[in-house]
Symmetry: C2
Subunit: 157 residues, 2 copies
């Protein structure tokens, strides 16, 4: 037995399978508004030479373009796998209402996609991370923030 | 006194200031390979209607396109502010060697960019997050992973 939620997820899964056939990673995603799909995405990292082109990011960019708004409030995401930290953060930035997912991060790790490693790195103190981080030019960098702070017509996001 | 590292950071900061002038968020970024800038980015969320268009993501996409590779090993990022979790995760996915940053996440929070809220959400159990997450169609979703696992000519990333 299936309902409309399952049909959206089955489309995301279909995209994930097609993605494997077209040499992308095994991930698919759709974004739904008012019970209609407004954007679809699959993993295109290797096809597009774009490390940010995960299925969810591709779908978010398309959805925002479709509705001409950087704020995706009122939409739901159906993704074939629990989002990685990059995609989950993008979901927060875009204000999507709810996430439906199929596979878990453990399933992803089992086939070689170690998102969990990134989740762990995000939690570490800056000085303990695998990718070193060094602060320089702090007194110069703050100038843009001061300028933003004083700007009266800024568009918040 | 300035050296080449400071000059790269000063360019990132210049981009962050220009970004405020052109109605983007106050963030700029450059990516360097072999002591040369190969990509620049500024925040274009509101200008492009793309919630993922943070300075770092814009620069990563351009750098990958420039060198025709989704793997940015051998590059360094200079970003005017400590990356948010989306951008930091993207840096891990793209294998950038080192991150230089100017402002901190605390500075960002002080002008209304609450990345820290997202860092906290990522740490929570799925069931406790502000954006609800629901698993459906697991037995269907796993099929793409099985297909990927069996694929002999897959391109890892």
């Amino acid at each position: 037995m299936s309902n409309i939620k399952n049909s959206f997820m089955l489309r995301a899964i279909e995209l994930s399978i097609e993605s494997v056939n077209s040499n992308g990673g095994p991930f698919g995603c759709v974004i739904v508004k008012n019970q209609k799909i407004i954007a679809e995405g699959n993993n295109q990292v290797t096809n597009l030479n774009d490390p940010t082109a995960h299925a969810e990011i591709v779908a978010i960019r398309k959805a925002s373009s479709t509705i001409n708004n950087f704020n995706l409030e009122g939409t739901q995401m159906y993704t074939s796998c629990e989002p990685c930290p990059m995609c989950l953060s993008a979901i927060y930035w875009s204000h999507i209402d709810k996430i439906f997912y199929g596979n878990t991060r453990v399933d992803a790790a089992n086939i070689g996609f170690d998102d969990n490693h990134i989740y762990e790195e995000l939690n570490k103190e800056l000085t303990l991370r695998m990718i070193p981080m060094e602060q320089i030019n702090k007194s110069d960098a703050i100038k843009a923030f001061e300028k933003w702070n004083l700007k009266s017509d800024k568009i918040k996001y």
